[in-house]
Subunit: 175 residues, 2 copies
DNA sequence: ACCTGAACACCGTTCAAGT
DNA sequence: ACCTGAACACCGTTCAAGT
């Protein structure tokens, strides 16, 4: 029953759920797996690579098959909300290794009415918005959980919808 | 010539320019000032607080006086580009202490044609876009600087303009 | 009041040595 | 091949003791 890469990733994922991104250290993953920290490096080259693996799992299957950018944005949001600090993890990986997030590369194709470079700009705007929105959303939820912020019945869904509506129609229409 | 809060912030700012956010540690700031790490805590309560101070300096005077959301977005971008890793620093502070960035709180007023809550949604979309866009822009520049990415003559200005155009007109018009 | 010295409780990563 | 033990070079923060 020797360790595998799968188990390391799974262990890291569950530490993420329990402790959040701030509590996700290689040493804690090792502890969670009952192994010494050095052992992880036999299966994974670095913490960054491990996070990239986790990020692509968070986004696995999102967006689903669709040709509607709004639906794609909603899929992305649900996927991010599915993991603790999901948006923060994906943003981090998106920053230093954008190519690891293959699922995001498909977005420009959804802006069929636009010239190619405009379609990539529209997709980037949408991704920045979704990542920023959900990061703020999850961060806020965390602060509420810690009691440092009051529970506010924010219209998160409505606010999110407003933003993707603005970006998608604004990108398509005249500016 | 005893140390002051100003000097600590200034020291941190210049470490930021020289080393980037990843190299900005309390110990390095202390070293830069020729002092022991513990001395900093007499003038600043924590690293987070220090970063908040830096972030508000990065945004100082941005956006300038204007009633055009597009112009405000451009001002924000220039201000962020004015400091190494500026977008990353401001994003970080925006996440855990949004109230420290008073300048961003004025943005909803620029969407005069909208109902109040829609104006705040529009402002949030714009901020997420600007922060995400510039963070990617600066990160990319950094990777080029390190030689890990090829120098690409990207139409950054044009791409940025496309995004703010989409968001502002999309927010104003029918969705 | 302000700073030093030294510690506490952590990090990511490497690598000889064991099995 | 896979893991341990132990180290290296770091962190942020605290706090007695000095001046």
């Amino acid at each position: 029953m020797t360790l595998s890469r799968e188990q390391v990733v799974a262990g890291a994922y569950s530490v993420l759920q329990e402790q959040g991104l701030g509590g996700l250290s290689m040493r804690r993953v090792a502890q969670h797996l009952g192994v010494q920290p050095g052992a992880l490096y036999y299966h994974v080259p670095s913490k960054q690579e491990l996070l990239a693996e986790i990020a692509s799992r968070i986004l696995a299957g999102a967006p689903g098959p669709t040709d509607d950018p709004r639906r794609a944005a909603r899929d992305l949001r649900s996927a991010l909300l599915g993991a603790r600090d999901g948006a923060e993890v994906v943003s981090f990986v998106h920053a230093f290794r954008p190519d690891a997030l293959t699922t995001l590369a498909t977005l420009p194709a959804l802006f069929g009415g636009l010239a190619p470079r405009e379609a990539t700009w529209a997709a980037r705007a949408l991704v920045h918005y979704v990542l920023g929105f959900v990061a703020e959303e999850q961060n806020h939820a965390e602060l509420v959980r810690l009691g440092v912020l009051a529970e506010d019945t924010s219209d998160a869904d409505e606010a999110f919808e407003f933003g993707i509506g603005a970006i998608t129609t604004g990108a398509a229409g005249p500016r």
